[in-house]
């Protein structure tokens, strides 16, 4: 029960933040792919850097244990293909699974349309699963992280990712200021 109360609370905060950023608005999200509106990248990169640094420094200060966190497993091919297909869908609908809920919650019927499509897509995969299962389970690499892949220490990987992400944000800021 506790588990679910936390789930609900985290969800509320999650949805609130997404809506505040304007990510429930399809033209805004799609605008990212026309380099008109960089909200998606700004929010995603800021959030990722914050959480990544939080996990790293939380670990160093003994407040949480990064080693106990669940790292999503890497499946090279399915995630590559999945990403391509997902990106296509994203640009068509202007929403992603989480933001489709935000869109619906702020009264946009497009959100419902995307959610319907999502259910249909997942059902399709589920029912076709016996056929695609070999592909689905191909190229597994377990919970592979950048540091395990490159052999770099955790701290160095964090530094590199921070530098790349902040550079991207700086580039975006410069581009927007030039308008």
């Amino acid at each position: 029960m506790n588990d679910l109360l936390i789930a609900g609370g985290i969800g509320v905060a999650f949805g609130w933040a997404l809506e505040c950023a304007g990510l429930g608005d399809p033209p805004k999200l799609a605008g990212q792919f026309y380099l008109r509106d960089f909200t998606v990248l700004k929010v995603m990169l800021s959030a990722m850097i914050t959480a990544m640094l939080g996990v790293f420094w939380g670990g160093r200060l003994g407040m949480l244990d990064p080693g106990a966190l669940y790292v999503p497993e890497t499946y090279l091919l399915p995630q590559l293909v999945g990403g391509l297909v997902f990106g296509l869908g994203f640009v068509l609908s202007g929403l992603c699974p989480g933001t489709s809920c935000v869109a619906l919650a702020s009264g946009r019927i497009e959100g419902a349309a995307t959610m319907l499509g999502l259910f249909a897509g997942v059902l399709l995969v589920g029912f076709a699963f016996p056929a695609i299962e070999p592909f689905y389970r191909s190229t597994p690499h377990g919970p592979l992280t950048l540091q395990r892949l490159t052999g770099l220490p955790y701290g160095v990987a964090v530094a590199l990712v921070t530098m790349v992400a902040v550079s991207m944000l700086a580039w975006i800021a410069k581009r927007e200021a030039a308008r």
Binding site: L53, R60, D65, A68, Y70, A159
Partner: protein
């Protein structure tokens, strides 16, 4: 934007200092703590059943590391899914983070048990081993005997576990010694696709 610039600088600072912050997983060199080792053996907290390991793998227990201590050629022949191959002579040089759950196994369990003591003497207390090794895995997980006197739900669960790893249960009348191994410590794992 002053705020944004501040955030950017803060992030950059925290990020660039990160490599110099030292490592959290320092294996402490302690001596052979015979008392605690004997206690662990006595209590049974030194090992887990193959079935318990199977559940941990299926439920993607956070921080789980399955270590095969046999030679690389044996490992290539057949191994437990998600296992890493760290032959026993390289075990001492490996590093283990404090909150990982290390599960050691070998062919029949003897070498894994010895590896457990070795790691224990190096201060690695978060390891356990599978007493019956790969043989137990095949016997208990891949082709388990569904006990006739267990509840249908229990039999379904054992069968489900077996199927998950690509095995198939045997239906028989013999009573199985052990059912649903040690209690699961740590948080309840949630079914996630994320």
């Amino acid at each position: 934007m002053r705020l944004v610039r501040g955030l950017g600088i803060g992030a950059l600072a925290l990020g660039l200092v990160a490599p110099f912050a030292g490592s959290p997983s320092r294996t402490q060199q302690r001596g052979l703590d015979l008392d605690s080792i004997a206690r662990a053996i006595d209590e049974g907290s030194d090992h887990v059943s193959a079935r318990q390991l199977a559940k941990w793998i299926r439920d993607r227990r956070p921080g789980l590391r399955v270590i095969d201590v046999r030679s690389p050629s044996e490992f290539h022949d057949d191994a437990i899914p998600t296992a890493e191959n760290v032959p026993i002579d390289q075990l001492a040089k490996s590093r283990f983070a404090p909150d990982q759950t290390i599960v050691l196994y070998s062919q029949e369990g003897a070498h894994a048990g010895q590896a457990w003591v070795m790691l224990r003497s190096l201060g690695v207390t978060q390891a356990v081993f599978v007493p019956g090794g790969l043989a137990d895995w095949r016997e208990e997980v891949l082709s388990p005997l569904l006990p006739a006197n267990a509840s249908p739900m229990e039999r379904a669960r054992i069968a489900e576990l077996s199927h998950y790893f690509g095995g198939s249960p045997r239906i028989g009348g013999e009573q199985e010694g052990e059912v649903a191994g040690a209690a699961q410590t740590g948080q309840r794992s949630r079914r996630r696709g994320c």
